[in-house]
């Protein structure tokens, strides 16, 4: 592979090798990126993208290979070395201190001082100047805990700029963003590139690659499969490089008659920690054979609504009916017993026990399953059979079911949660961002699984920040704004409407249609 520009590369990786016990995560990877270039890094879950970037950021020592910046060989023993050399990283899972302010988060570890003390005024001023220069909107004095995801990401970018990063790495930066926030981020990245910074971003969304990147490098099984100029490529071609086949054309969603109400919410009110109504008098129902979508800009009450239905939060008023039984005051266990399953948004803290094995995570909710026990004691053989079967069915890429979940790549973690919840054969499935961070192939299969639940005459409540996902799957779409449902759209009416996504976006921003 040659450098893809006439200029000398700002960053060059030569023959990077990284092994984990039983896995060759990076297998002689070469990569060269020019200054001012935006490079997309693509690949299936577990292809080695995050690992490669962690090597570049000094978090993992490479087993072999070289890193060159502006032609000079580097040796990173820790992130500190990489930061010094001008590399900045925005991690897949944000690395922020929620209780501290934006300015404190940015200057952390490199604080401006006056009379030996922390100079908060100078910190706020420097952060404001940086934000101004690169067009990032954020209030230096705000507490990070109070910020929406999009702003938190800007804080992460500011952190790298404050440390004079010339190479900026973003690991799945759009996974948690709303469409508006995503456009904002792209603007920022283009601005950074035009000021000569090199940007590398990982994504599973091919359209984003087409919109933003100059070149795309596809990894597969730890190796570079291809590097292409985006202008000469297409989403289909990129997809073929990634998964080695074409995607199935369209989801086959056949209209079907809906049955009785399986999940109903009546005048539900949920308060946030300050006593504000974060969910305000919400009522809706999901019938058998139906997928109902919950759309909206993050922070408008969707998460709290879902948490209340799942039993993680007590509502202040209103009722929740599961299969026509009032479950408002019942425990999570009772709800699950009654047929509720839940794929939570935060897979790492809510969805998984990270230190436990894949097998343990997969059987967490299945302990009543008779094939798992023998005379009341867990049967290892039964567990092995049950979990290996799930791993195969959901195409989870792991060395063994005994592996700890925190060794898994982001997308494979998501598959573990999805597999466990779908295996319950739930009456009502609540799916919150079910495809975040999973590759196109796996997202496709999760979509098929959700549709299968619907087609078997059961109910799905799907909360997603992806309008396209909601449009593709749902029969009805509820749009939330400031804790209320501000619009209900029918899929049939939106089908083939090119402005459908815009309509949702407008409602979600509090507008009128």
């Amino acid at each position: 592979m040659v450098a893809t520009s006439s200029e000398a590369p700002a960053l060059e990786l030569r023959g990077i090798v990284k092994r984990f016990p039983g896995v060759l995560a990076n297998d002689h990877i070469d990569l060269a990126v020019a200054p001012g270039e935006i490079r997309a890094l693509l690949g299936e879950n577990g292809a080695g993208k995050t690992t490669l970037m962690r090597v570049l950021y000094g978090l993992y020592p490479p087993d072999d290979g070289e890193i060159l910046l502006d032609g000079k060989a580097q040796r990173f023993r820790s992130p500190t070395d990489a930061i010094h050399a001008g590399i900045g990283m925005v991690h897949q899972h944000f690395m922020l201190f929620p209780s501290l302010t934006v300015a404190e988060n940015v200057v952390y570890g490199r604080e401006p001082q006056r009379w030996g003390l922390l100079d908060r005024t100078a910190a706020a001023r420097q952060v404001a100047e940086l934000a101004e220069r690169y067009g990032l909107q954020v209030d230096p004095a705000a507490r990070v805990a109070d910020l929406p995801v999009g702003s938190r990401q800007r804080v992460e970018i500011l952190k790298t700029l404050y440390r004079d990063a010339r190479v900026l790495i973003l690991d799945e930066p759009t996974a948690v963003l709303t469409p508006q926030e995503r456009q904002g981020l792209f603007q920022i990245l283009r601005e950074l590139a035009s000021q000569g910074k090199t940007v590398i971003f990982i994504t599973h969304k091919l359209q984003e690659v087409m919109d933003l990147a100059d070149h795309a490098t596809v990894l597969r099984g730890g190796m570079v499969e291809a590097t292409v100029a985006v202008a000469d490529s297409s989403p289909e071609a990129l997809c073929r490089h990634m998964v080695g086949r074409d995607l199935l054309p369209q989801l086959a969603k056949v209209p079907q008659a809906t049955g009785e109400s399986l999940l109903a919410v009546n005048n539900l009110v949920v308060l946030d920690n300050t006593g504000r109504r974060i969910v305000d008098q919400v009522s809706f129902e999901v019938r058998a054979g139906e997928i109902v979508g919950l759309a909206g800009v993050a922070g408008n009450g969707q998460s709290e609504l879902v948490a209340a239905i799942a039993g993680l939060r007590s509502p202040a008023a209103g009722r929740i009916l599961l299969n026509q039984d009032d479950v408002t005051a019942t425990s999570i266990a009772a709800r699950r017993q009654a047929g509720l399953a839940y794929i939570p948004e935060d897979r790492n803290r809510v969805g998984l026990a990270l230190a436990a094995s894949v097998a343990d995570n997969l059987i967490l909710t299945g302990r009543h399953n008779p094939t798992l026990t023998q005379r009341g004691v867990l049967s290892q053989a039964g567990i092995e059979r049950y979990t290996t079967d799930l791993v195969e069915r959901f195409d989870i890429k792991i060395a063994s079911v005994r592996e700890a979940v925190d060794h898994l790549s982001g997308g494979n973690r998501q598959k573990v949660v999805t597999a466990r919840e779908l295996a319950q054969e739930p009456l009502v499935l609540i799916a919150e961002q079910p495809t975040q961070g999973v590759d196109v192939g796996a997202a496709e299969s999760i979509h098929h699984n959700l549709l299968a639940v619907r087609d078997q005459g059961r109910a799905v409540l799907l909360s997603s920040a992806e309008s396209s996902e909601i449009l593709a799957l749902c029969d009805r779409i509820l749009v939330m704004f400031e804790g209320r449902i501000v619009g209900e759209l029918l899929a049939e009416e939106l089908a083939n409407d090119p402005a459908a996504e815009a309509t949702i976006g407008l409602l979600a921003a509090g507008g009128e249609v």
Partner: protein, 304 residues
């Protein structure tokens, strides 16, 4: 009425300060660890070790030697703690309990080995901390007896509250410490050595517990008694939680505990059985624990 006035006199306030000081010094140490993300449960053992080292040091090298020995001994034991908890990633509760047991055994053993006594050690050669009189303040009612006439460690403890507050909230070190406690991964990716920060926090807490021990054995008395920390380290742990690891909150909690301590002491020799009066500080501690728990449950807003 008269009885009550008798009870709440100036001496009560004065002894409140004396009782609160060891709690305060130890709790400041616990607070620093808590902020660094380590639940320091060895305050009791660290304090007891400090109390013994203070007496031994004072016996051989005068009062400053005593205080110095207490600080060094506290730091050394805390360094051992750090070696396990930070270095080897052992569980801080398990190791902390082991250290508490070690401290109580070790001080008994050393008492035997160095001074050949059992139970308690008292000797004219042990120099106490003495007391400092504040000439002008002394004359003011209420404030005078509250503030004047204590050992210099009492004043040092009050100043340390301010110092800890400044460092925690207005010094880069404090910012780093709080960051390490809140999100160690985030701190590490910004190039901060989290292990070093945590180890330092533990060692500083050991030094503060050493001072707490010195106040205990050289402050109002000049002797060492086996197990003389008598649960004060545990009360300090509760004070850290009750004060939400904030210097001011922790100081208030310690003063409340100190007050009940001195009230209990004062009630002795009256008609109330001494077993009951001695219970007072621990009952208040229990109430404190109940408050902490109900607060936690509220914060989570979880269903039972």
């Amino acid at each position: 009425m008269n009885e009550l006035a008798n009870l709440f006199d100036a001496a009560l306030l004065s002894s409140t300060m004396r009782f609160a000081t060891p709690l305060l010094l130890a709790a400041l140490g616990g607070l620093i660890c808590e902020r660094a993300g380590i639940f320091n449960i060895a305050l009791e053992g660290l304090m007891l070790t400090g109390a013994f080292a203070a007496v031994a040091g004072s016996y051989y090298a005068g009062v400053l030697g005593g205080v110095g020995a207490a600080v060094v001994a506290g730091a050394a034991l805390a360094a051992l703690y750090a070696g396990f908890v930070v270095g080897l990633r052992s569980d801080e509760i398990v190791v902390g309990i082991a250290l508490n047991l070690l401290a109580s055994g070790l001080t008994v053993f050393l008492l035997r080995a160095l001074f050949g006594v059992k139970g308690a050690f008292q000797d004219p050669r042990i120099e106490g901390l003495g007391s400092v009189r504040l000439p002008l303040i002394e004359a003011i009612p209420i404030v005078g007896p509250l503030l004047s006439g204590h050992s210099w460690l009492v004043y040092a403890a009050l100043m340390l509250v301010a110092i800890v507050w400044v460092v925690l909230f207005h010094h880069p070190l404090g910012l780093r410490l709080r960051g390490v406690g809140e999100q160690p991964d985030a701190a590490a990716t910004l190039g901060v050595n989290t292990r070093r920060v945590q180890a330092a926090a533990l060692i500083v807490s050991g030094m503060l517990c050493g001072l707490a021990g010195a106040q205990l054995s050289l402050g109002s008395v000049t002797l060492f008694v086996e197990g003389m920390s008598a649960g004060r380290g545990w009360i300090a742990v509760v004070a850290v939680l009750l004060g939400r690891a904030h210097p001011v909150g922790v100081a208030v909690a310690c003063l409340v505990f100190g007050f009940t301590d001195s009230l209990g002491f004062r009630l002795q020799g009256r008609d109330i059985p001494s077993q009951l009066t001695e219970m007072l500080p621990y009952v208040v501690t229990l109430i404190g624990l109940a408050i902490i728990n109900s607060r936690r449950a509220q914060q989570k807003g979880l269903q039972p």
